[in-house]
Amino acid sequence: MTQPPHVLAIASAGGHWVQLKRLSPAWAGCRVTYVSTDPQLRDGVLADPGDAAEVQFYTVKDANRWQKLRLMVSLLQIVWIMLRARPDVVITTGAAPGFFALRLATWMGKRAAWIDSIANAETLSLSGQMAGGRCDLWLTQWENLADPEGPSYSGSVI
C-alpha cells in the first residue's frame, strides 16, 4: 500500500492560522507538518491532531515585507524545514512564510496551493498576487476576485 501524502500546512499565527485550521478535513488521513509563527500553538496542535495520520509542528520567525532581516531568517528556517520534512504538497493561507514555502515547493518539484485570505475581499493580497503562476492551485475566497486568468473560487473557510 502506498503511503498517504505528506502535507506541509503553513500559515502565520492569527487570522491566517485560524483559516488554515478550518481546512484541515482536506488532509484527513495524511501525514501533516504544520508550520506557524507562534510557539504557543504547538501544544494545541499536538494534542489535537484531528483526522491526520501523523502530526508535526514547527515555528518560524514572523515577518512582514518591511522587515528584511526577519524575512531572511524566516526564509532560512523554512528552507531547513522543507529539506527536512520533504512534503509532497504545500498548502498555505499566507502570508510571507507561506509564500516562501510555496516557492520552495515548486522549486523542489512539489505541488503547492495558495488559498488567499478571506480578509482580502476587494483585491488579492500582495503575496497572493505573487503566488499566481507560481503554484498549482491558486484560490481566492471571494467570487468577485475569481478570474479565468487568475485565481479560482471554490467557496470560503466560513
Binding site: 492569527g14 481546512l23 478535513p25 482536506a26 504538497v89 505541488r111 470560503s156 473557510v157 466560513i158
Partner: protein, 170 residues
C-alpha cells in the same frame, strides 16, 4: 465580560481609547473588560480603566472569547471567525490606512462584507461603539449568545473537497 481584541501585531489606539472612555463613564460597573492590545510602542495608548495584555496565548484567547458576553475587535478575520465560532455578539471597528492603523484599507472592506451578518455590529468611531455596547448590554446575558451568528467548525465542503482532490490527485 467584554473581550477586546485588536490582534497581536499592531496597536490600535483609537479602539483601545474608545473602550477606555466607555469604561471610564462607568455606566455598566458590573461588566469587566479585558483587552489584547497588540505590540505597543512607547507612545501607544495604554488604557487605565480596564485590564489588558499585549498578547495572550491562542488557548487563552479562545477561552476569553468563549467567556465573553460581547466581543469587541478590529475587523481582523482571526477575531471575527473565532467570535463567530463561539456565537458571540461581535462589534467590529476597522483599522484605517489614512489614520496609520494598517497598511491598507482591507479591514474596511471586511467590515463592509460582514456587517450585514447576524451578530456582527460594525462601528466606525467611539460614539458608535459606546452606543452599540450600551444597546447590546440591554439584552440579558446568555440571550445574546443565541444570536445566529455561528459558523460551522470547518470550511465550506466544496473548498475542502477541492483541496482534498488536489492533495491526493494533483
Amino acid at each position: 465580560m467584554i473581550f477586546l481584541t485588536v490582534g497581536t501585531q499592531l496597536p490600535f489606539d483609537r479602539l483601545a481609547r474608545a473602550m477606555d472612555d466607555w469604561c471610564a463613564q462607568n455606566a455598566h460597573p458590573e461588566i469587566q473588560v479585558f483587552g489584547q492590545l497588540g505590540h505597543l510602542n512607547g507612545d501607544s495608548y495604554r488604557p487605565r480603566h480596564f485590564e489588558w495584555a499585549e498578547k495572550i496565548s491562542p488557548d487563552t484567547f479562545n477561552s476569553r472569547v468563549q467567556e465573553a458576553r460581547v466581543v469587541v475587535g478590529h475587523a481582523g478575520m482571526g477575531s471575527i471567525i473565532t467570535a463567530m465560532s463561539f456565537r458571540k455578539p461581535t462589534v467590529i471597528m476597522p483599522r484605517r490606512a489614512h489614520l496609520g492603523e494598517h497598511r491598507n484599507d482591507h479591514q474596511y472592506a471586511t467590515m463592509a462584507r460582514f456587517k450585514s451578518r447576524s451578530g456582527i455590529f460594525a462601528v466606525e468611531d467611539s460614539a458608535a461603539l459606546a452606543q452599540q455596547l450600551d444597546q447590546l448590554l440591554t439584552i440579558p446575558d446568555g440571550a445574546t449568545t443565541e444570536a445566529d451568528n455561528g459558523v460551522a467548525p470547518f470550511a465550506e465542503e466544496r473548498l475542502i473537497q477541492r483541496l482534498s482532490a488536489f492533495i491526493h490527485n494533483g
